[in-house]
């Protein structure tokens, strides 16, 4: 089932001063059966967008469609949408079984039917052993699995995930990414997943919707968002390292640190340019080890440039060198608007 948000507006009145636009004319669609990841820095409006889809926030303007139904005016419970909350939001007074089953009971399902269904869902998520535990007796990963089970038990056509993994430690987060993906594949539900972690977004999203200051600035597959960022903001936000941006008289030029090669320049030669290459001269400011690779900060006339270099031949701090890249690897953005040219 598709989820379509059209022209969504939402602003909060700050106690003093200008109202804050949490959502500024947001139009975005999650296609049936896809996992759309909404990603952006904190305060970009991504959680507000998710809560608006769920019905937990009302929009000032715009509409939300779930399938063919306009749910804009419907209460959260009537939208047929399941949701997984940040920090799991488990009911502290109920056992795991009680937590998973409470929604079913709220929808009027009988006690014994609910119990059967709870056992089934818990088994499928590998928490069948935990049904009698209380939330206070669970680990972070277990809590999050219970939260997933609570959403899955309704066999939802649409499932919303609000930073479900952000409270987990790194190791567990990697494992749970896979589980969320699996779950989506198994249930075939349309999922809208919100995160501030671009690595998580790249890893599990079929498509990304990148948000900045209440606006959706790009919606595309992770590969294309990485390869062709729509704005200089996206270029810096998405990717293991932010894109280098070089400002000058003309358009802003951008190059990924992964595409930069470093060459010896003991002579301090500035003007040496080879055909098909762009480059600049600079001094190594720091070298940071990143496993097999190293991230080198090169101080140049216009600022600092990052380069990710492979192999063992790492430069040392203070080395004079040239950073070069293929002219074809260069991105160009409008100097004022930041839009891709």
């Amino acid at each position: 089932m598709t989820v379509r948000v059209t022209g969504a507006q939402k602003s909060y009145r700050a106690r003093r001063g200008e109202p804050v636009h949490a959502l500024d004319d947001v139009t975005v669609e999650a296609r049936a059966g896809e996992l759309l990841t909404v990603v952006g820095p904190s305060g970009s409006g991504k959680s507000t967008l998710l809560r608006a889809i769920a019905g937990l926030e009302t929009l000032d303007a715009g509409s939300v469609m779930v399938g063919d139904v306009d749910v804009t005016a419907l209460a959260p419970g009537r939208r047929g949408v399941a949701m997984v909350f940040q920090d799991a939001a488990l009911y502290p007074h109920l056992s795991v079984a009680g937590n998973i089953g409470l929604g079913e009971r709220a929808r009027g399902r009988g006690r014994s039917q609910t119990r059967e269904r709870v056992a089934e869902v818990a088994e499928s998520l590998g928490i069948g052993e935990l049904l009698d535990r209380l939330p206070s007796q669970l680990s972070g990963g277990e809590r999050q699995r219970v939260a997933l089970a609570r959403a899955v038990i309704r066999a939802p056509k649409v499932c919303l995930l609000d930073e479900p993994l952000s409270s987990l430690d790194a190791d567990l987060r990697l494992r749970m990414r896979g589980e969320v993906r699996d779950l989506q594949r198994r249930t075939g539900a349309t999922m809208v997943h919100v995160t501030h972690d671009q690595a998580e977004a790249m890893a599990i999203g079929d498509r990304l919707a990148v948000m900045q200051a209440g606006r959706v600035v790009q919606v595309d597959t992770p590969e294309r968002v990485f390869a062709e960022p729509a704005t200089s903001f996206v270029a810096r936000f998405v990717g293991p390292l932010p894109m280098n941006l070089l400002t000058g008289d003309g358009p802003t030029r951008g190059v990924r640190p992964e595409r930069v090669r470093l060459r010896d320049n003991a002579a301090g030669d500035v003007d040496q340019v080879e055909p098909g290459l762009s480059g600049l001269a600079g001094v190594v400011e720091s070298v940071e080890s990143a496993g097999e690779d190293a991230v080198v900060r090169v101080r140049h006339a216009g600022g600092v440039l990052l380069a990710r270099v492979t192999g063992t031949s790492r430069p040392s701090v203070g080395d004079q060198l040239r950073a070069v890249w293929d002219a074809g690897d260069e991105h160009r953005f409008d100097r004022d608007t930041g839009e891709r040219l």
Binding site: G55, A75, A82, Q86
Partner: protein
């Protein structure tokens, strides 16, 4: 070091607690085993007072009256306090402020003034409550003239002074994380379901503590209205235990025996409070996050 120094700040409080609570309690415990009339030094009488207490029908009847009044008044008080708190918890603006003030106000009125006010409200001849009941054709209990009418009168006087419990319940409601309500809203739960399956169970430990506190308050406060509104009557129907202690001590001058009654009342109240306290601790333990 800092903790040790901060500890000194508690000293005035400890001193107060010692002078106003512990010392009188200790004295009462001692006097409970003496004959003491206030004119000469207390005379040790061993367990004589306690033997008398065991056979004192009037005391046990007064305990029964107190128990009955508390058993009716405490649930009503808790229901009113919690009900008002739940209704007003999410009510912002002027309406919320007025509502919260209205709920708290009766607790600000001095005991004696409150009691005298009810003496007028319940008056069978010109009181507004009997008049209102007559106007709608309802049966009018003799609030001040019949045993059960008088007990209900006592309950009414006690029922509305729930300001402190209201404030605690309001605070307790506000500690329930909003995300839990969001989660249940997405499930399509009705307001009734949300209240009975989420709000009240999560608040349960605090509600039980409130119940214990309220029990103690009612047992104590049953004194003023019983003295001023019903005077213990008719025919000792509202002679509550604290009123009996008061009469023994200050009308009959039996300070020793009155102390015995006081201590016995303390023990009985503590016993009644033990079960809900134990339950509250268990529930809180269960929910700890």
């Amino acid at each position: 070091m800092r903790g040790a120094r901060a500890g000194w700040l508690g000293l005035p409080f400890l001193l107060g607690a010692f002078l106003v609570v512990l010392l009188p309690l200790g004295l009462a415990a001692y006097l409970a085993f003496t004959d003491y009339y206030g004119f000469e030094a207390p005379r040790w009488s061993g367990t004589d007072n306690w033997a008398r207490l065991a056979g004192d029908g009037q005391f046990w009847r007064s305990v029964g009256v107190t128990g009955v009044v508390a058993a009716i008044a405490v649930p009503i008080r808790i229901a009113l306090a919690v009900g008002a708190a739940l209704l007003l918890a999410r009510q912002g603006g002027a309406a919320g402020a007025i509502g919260r003030t209205a709920a708290y106000l009766p607790s600000v009125v001095p005991e004696a003034a409150w009691a005298l006010l009810w003496l007028w409200i319940l008056n069978p001849l010109y009181g507004p409550l009997p008049a209102a009941l007559r106007a709608v054709g309802a049966p009018v209990p003799g609030f001040l003239t019949e045993p059960w009418g008088a007990r209900w009168g006592l309950v009414l006087v006690l029922a509305f002074q729930v300001g402190e419990a209201f404030v605690v319940a309001l605070a307790a409601r506000r500690t329930v994380p909003g995300a839990l309500y969001d989660a249940l809203a997405v499930e399509g739960a009705s307001p009734w379901f949300t209240t009975t399956r989420l709000t009240l169970p999560v608040m349960a430990p605090i509600l039980l503590l409130l119940t214990v506190r309220d029990l103690v308050v009612v047992v104590q406060n049953a004194f003023v209205p019983a003295l001023l509104v019903t005077g213990g009557g008719p025919g000792n129907a509202t002679l509550t235990a604290p009123l009996l202690v008061y009469e023994r001590a200050f009308e009959y001058g039996e300070l020793g025996y009155a102390s015995t009654l006081s201590v016995a009342l303390l023990v009985l109240t503590a016993a009644a409070a033990a079960l809900p306290l134990w339950l509250a601790a268990r529930l809180a333990q269960r929910q700890r996050r």
